[in-house]
């Protein structure tokens, strides 16, 4: 080989290392064999073999979200790439930085319907932040570095690089990351100062303010969470987090109102509805948060801080739009607040907190404890208590268990909570837990799961066993696709069409068959013991937590309703408001 020239496959490996990648999640196949060969010949970059390409992306997402680094994925052409599409879409919706390398058939075969050929760039165009097809090895190193830059800059997201097999074999020059600058892509991180000043004035003069913060604060890095906490405490104002934003503000803080939105707390949603100034930092007015748009927080002035200008004024018209990175903007806000010696209206604030305290008294997460039947909320409360002293990371699947986990588990810091928010991908939690455990080998990583979601990617148990990853899969097993069942009960006359999980496997035996440990709890008296065992065993564990089949997740804002039409629990559920006749058509149509 000539001086300064590497094969395409070697360029890929070198670029990954130069980008600080130490682990890549993938699955080999014909069109990526040269890259796997190059992987084999080195020891710095660790490859984690998953059992399905979707899981490779979710694992990389778990890794990225729990570390703040870019997650790396390597899959083959055709089915390898198409299997990755769900993971890529998930990462796009939740703004998770991923670089996914796909093998492709040799350039001379592209377009010929070759074996394992798919139009990967065509298929992934709408589900990535950006994608590339590298047809010339001379462009490969530059493209690799550009991809990492695009993935982590601005609003993060997944980037695909499609690399034909002949390009992996061809020799070309390597350029280090320092020599690569993107031609046009320069996201704005520093906000317009006059806008921030205007915002600070509005914040300081608020009578009924609320901070509503989202995943943007987490994506901005741990500093943003620190600054947010500092600023919220300086003002003395209440703060609520979105599902994606949990952990950005410490859950134990008295100013924290819990999560907002469809299954958010009563106090958070009513405070959003009744506030006069809403300070949205890094959230995107998602439909799960706003409920009925025309009645969303009708009396408030709204400030929206977002790094993505297209998120601003998309769903909700705001009064002060601020384009910038959360940490930068919060830093400016704090500085201006201090310089101008701002003091909020203490009398108004006292009244506002008085009102919030009244709402809190409704104790909206209350449930009716039963014995011996285990309520899912009880299981999570016990998990909360028993993991309090541990260094814990939580992932979830999607459904009721996910909402209960968001309601009942406390997140004191960012990057501890990995859940599929935007796309709502069942099967996310186990691979995400694997990626998280790889990044934090000595921590306690728990996938709070449902039996239906778990079965969507349960093959990854083999990955966990292969790499001795002590992930814990806590299945809240109610033998239903619980959230589907809940909607069918509330909106479709209790016609449980196809939502019963028939023919479930024995999860304890399944764990053992994979080489892990299986545990089961069927009554309240067994819960603590099973959870303690789960926490202590340093191997992959599946817990079959058999819970009440009919429990519903409350509070709930039914689709098409406003925040102040929130339902609190079984008592409300029986009330007039939920009878089928009074459900607006609009609500039934909404998902």
């Amino acid at each position: 080989m000539s001086e300064n020239k590497l094969t395409g496959a070697e360029i890929v490996i070198k670029a990954l290392k130069d980008q600080g990648v130490d682990v890549i999640f993938g699955y080999p196949g014909g069109a990526v064999l040269p890259i796997y060969d190059a992987l084999f010949k080195q020891n710095d970059l660790r490859h984690i073999l998953v059992r399905h390409e979707q899981a490779a992306v979710h694992a990389a997402e778990g890794y990225a979200r729990s570390t703040g680094k870019v997650g790396a994925v390597l899959v083959t052409s055709g089915p390898g790439a198409t299997n990755a599409v769900t993971g890529l879409t998930d990462a796009l919706m939740d703004s998770i930085p991923i670089v996914c390398l796909c093998g492709q058939v040799p350039t001379h075969l592209i377009g010929n319907d070759a074996f394992q050929e798919a139009d990967t760039t065509g298929i992934t165009r709408p589900c990535t932040k950006h994608n590339y097809l590298v047809k010339d090895v001379a462009n490969l190193a530059r493209t690799m570095h550009e991809a990492f830059y695009v993935a982590r800059s601005g609003r993060p997201g997944p980037v695909v690089i499609d690399i034909p097999k002949d390009v992996q074999f061809a020799e070309g020059p390597y350029v280090p990351p320092t020599e690569v600058k993107h031609k046009t892509y320069r996201p704005q991180v520093k906000a317009e100062l006059s806008r921030v000043e205007e915002a600070v004035e509005l914040i300081a003069n608020a009578k009924r303010p609320i901070f509503y913060t989202g995943g943007g604060v987490i994506n901005s890095g741990p500093l943003a969470s620190k600054l947010l906490t500092q600023f919220v405490r300086m003002t003395g104002y209440p703060c609520t987090n979105t599902l994606m934003g949990l952990g950005a503000y410490p859950a134990s803080d008295p100013q924290f109102l819990g999560m907002l939105g469809m299954h958010g707390t009563y106090e958070a949603n009513l405070a959003m509805h009744g506030c006069d100034v809403m300070i949205n930092i890094g959230a995107r007015f998602d439909d799960r948060v706003t409920g009925k748009l025309s009645e969303f927080s009708p009396g408030s002035k709204k400030i929206h801080v977002d790094i993505d200008p297209s998120s601003i004024n998309k769903n909700v018209r705001v009064d002060i739009p601020i384009v910038g990175d959360c940490a930068h903007v919060l830093e400016d806000m704090i500085r201006i607040w201090k310089a101008r010696q701002k003091r909020p209206d203490q009398a108004a604030l006292k009244n506002w907190w008085g009102q919030i305290t009244e709402w809190r008294k409704r104790d909206c997460l209350r449930y009716i404890h039963t014995d011996p039947i285990i309520k899912p909320q009880y299981a999570l409360e016990r998990l909360r208590e028993l993991t309090r002293k541990h260094d814990t990371y939580i992932t979830t699947e999607v459904g009721q268990h996910q909402m209960w986990a968001a309601q009942f588990l406390p997140f004191e810091e960012p990057n501890r909570w990995m859940t599929s928010g935007g796309l709502g991908t069942m099967g996310y939690g186990l691979p995400a837990a694997i990626g998280t455990q790889i990044a934090h080998p000595d921590s306690l990583v728990i996938d709070v799961s449902g039996e239906a979601s778990f079965m969507m990617n349960m093959q990854e148990m083999a990955t966990a066993v292969q790499y001795n990853l002590p992930v814990k899969i806590l299945i809240l097993n109610n033998q239903y696709m619980g959230m589907v069942r809940q909607w069918q009960e509330l909106l479709h006359g209790s016609r449980y069409s196809q939502s019963y999980s028939e023919a479930l496997p024995d999860f304890v035996k399944m764990a053992e068959a994979f080489g892990g440990v299986g545990l089961r709890a069927t009554k309240v008296s067994e819960v603590d013991d099973v959870l303690n065992q789960m926490i202590d065993i340093r191997r992959p564990v599946i817990v079959d937590m058999c819970v009440d089949q009919k429990e519903n997740c409350f509070p709930m804002i039914p689709g098409g309703r406003a925040h102040n039409e929130i339902l609190l629990g079984p008592a409300d559920q029986l009330g007039e408001s939920m009878s089928r006749d009074s459900t607006p058509e609009e609500g039934m149509v909404l998902v």
Binding site: T121, R125, L133, S310, N313
Partner: protein
């Protein structure tokens, strides 16, 4: 509510790389925006930059979204709303084929002359006219030709540029 539908002409400078047009079109179809016309061609061969002119319609909020979403695409250099940013020139070219004989043929030629459409192909029983103008002028001419034996129309969609000395 701001529900008035506005028509806007948007100019977009993009890197002329494979798939860039697909990204723009995919954005419109994926998010349900409307395209009335779209033209694209390379305008700087050295820098490999293309200019896309999009005529679209929607509420004020949708138009803002379209611009922000376009700007978010990685290969996009600049997005300018010509309709918002002051006076601009908009032109479209059409090739219009009319078939017929006798009086109808003579009448089509006479009207073409009024509209300053050029004859670029002629046979004993047909003409192909070339016409440049605003979309409305082309609509008017094509409307008249419809009654005189119109058989085919090919239009380019609008190209647009701002008035005055400033560049995009």
């Amino acid at each position: 509510m701001e529900s008035t539908i506005e028509k806007h002409t948007i100019s977009v400078l993009v890197d002329n790389e494979p798939g860039v047009l697909a990204r723009v079109i995919g954005l419109f179809s994926g998010r349900g925006y409307n395209i009335e016309s779209l033209t694209v061609a390379e305008v700087d061969a050295e820098q490999q930059v293309s200019r896309i002119t999009i005529v679209t319609s929607g509420t004020r909020m949708i138009i803002e979204q379209i611009k922000n979403q376009l700007d978010r695409l990685v290969p996009v250099h600049r997005v300018r709303d010509l309709t918002d940013e002051g006076p601009f020139i908009e032109r479209e070219l059409a090739l219009i084929k009319v078939a017929g004989t006798g009086d109808r043929r003579i009448e089509s030629l006479r009207i073409a002359d009024i509209f300053k459409a050029r004859v670029v192909d002629a046979t004993l029983n047909s003409f192909v006219f070339e016409m440049t103008g605003t979309a409305a002028q082309l609509d008017d001419f094509i409307g008249l030709m419809r009654q005189l034996g119109l058989v085919d129309v090919s239009r380019t969609g609008a190209a647009a540029i701002s008035k005055g000395a400033a560049s995009l």
